[in-house]
């Protein structure tokens, strides 16, 4: 039983850990730079995965290219990103750039928040209006109560 558990645990670990092939880096900083960049780039086949997550063929090719550009051609991160942008467009970036076509995408949440706050503020204001109306109704109620009390007194005065 223990051995079975061990096998299951190890196989689970293996399946999640090796989407990305092992590579040799000269320094730890190189490795970090590489893994950081492939996490910024999107795999176009499995669209909700970055190059770092995907084990699609295309993702592997794109990782190879990234590695080659980074360490053999010594391109900067920006150059590599531009290389991918020229070929695949903005979609290759996990975080879309801020430009004319993406203004709505970036600003919509802020606008929705502001509209929401305005709405809440207005609702709050109108509910204070309601409480003043409630005050008026309180006065009317008091008046009605007085009238009722009076009529009760009249009832009591009536001889049975």
């Amino acid at each position: 039983m223990k051995r079975l558990l061990l096998v299951i645990t190890l196989s689970l670990w293996a399946s999640s850990a090796f989407a990305v092939e092992a590579r040799d880096f000269d320094t730890e900083a190189d490795a970090q730079r590489y893994y950081k960049l492939i996490a910024r780039l999107r795999c176009l086949v499995c669209q909700n995965q970055s190059l770092a997550d995907s084990n699609a063929d295309l993702a592997r090719d794109m990782r190879d290219k990234t590695f080659e550009l980074m360490f053999e051609k010594e391109s900067s991160d920006d150059d590599i990103v531009n290389f991918m942008l020229e070929r695949y467009g903005d979609f290759v970036l996990y975080r879309p750039p801020f430009k004319a076509t993406t203004v709505a995408l970036w600003l919509a949440p802020a606008i929705a928040l502001i509209l929401g706050l305005v709405l809440v503020a207005r609702l709050a204001a109108s509910s204070t209006g309601q409480s003043s109306r409630a005050q008026v109704e309180d006065e009317k109620l008091a008046a009605a109560r007085r009238l009722l009390n009076d009529s009760e007194r009249v009832d009591r005065d009536q001889p049975r």
């Binding site: 176009l44 086949v45 290219k65 942008l85 070929r87 695949y88 467009g89 903005d90």
Partner: protein, 189 residues
């Protein structure tokens, strides 16, 4: 009298406020409904309107012949990216065959990440509609052309500028409504 008009005014504001969520729902609904008929797999290519990326690759049938986009310059040409391992390519193959018979411009096949023997066997089995076939064993040309899912089809004009790209299998509908009209604009047939 004054208090009565004030009362109805407050009612009116309340009604408009209640309409806002409805309006928001309608707007979101329109966008979502539009989204239903869009294909998220079709990522617009940044290469449309740009010069066709360079490649120098061997011909499938004559491995000694090296082909490049310059080999086809001078009139419009079609590049169809396919592979023997690609199921959707079998599906579009009759459409490509029909297209190649109809147009008098070169229809070039790019055998993407495929062994030349497999590619040749595939063309023998299903028929070879291409004026020339190119082998992209490593997929480097595919990467430069922004290929991410075979089959893909490009239309390149006489000046070597990419004018049209289709991702996924061609259908006779797409050929009729989009590719042929684009080709007519370029002055080909």
């Amino acid at each position: 009298m004054h208090s009565v008009s004030g009362h109805t005014h407050e009612r009116g504001v309340g009604r408009i406020t209640f309409l806002i969520p409805l309006l928001v729902c309608v707007v979101i609904g329109v966008f979502l409904y539009r989204g239903l008929s869009l294909n998220p797999r079709e990522v617009p290519s940044p290469l449309i309107g740009k010069a066709a990326p360079e490649f120098k690759l061997p011909s499938l049938h004559q491995p000694d012949t090296i082909l490049s986009p310059a080999s086809f310059a001078g009139k419009p040409w079609i590049l169809n990216v396919w592979a023997s391992w690609c199921v959707a390519c079998r599906q579009e193959h009759p459409v490509v065959t029909n297209l190649a018979q109809r147009v008098d411009i070169p229809v070039i096949g790019l055998d993407y990440k495929d062994q030349p023997e497999d590619g040749k066997a595939w063309l023998t089995q299903f028929g070879d509609p291409y004026d020339a076939s190119i082998v992209d064993l490593e997929g480097n040309a595919g990467l430069d052309w922004g290929v991410y899912g075979v089959p893909e089809t490009f239309l390149i004009d006489a000046n070597g500028v990419i004018q049209f790209k289709h991702i996924g299998p061609l259908t006779s509908d797409i050929v009729e409504t989009r590719l042929m009209s684009k080709l007519a604009e370029l002055g080909g047939s």
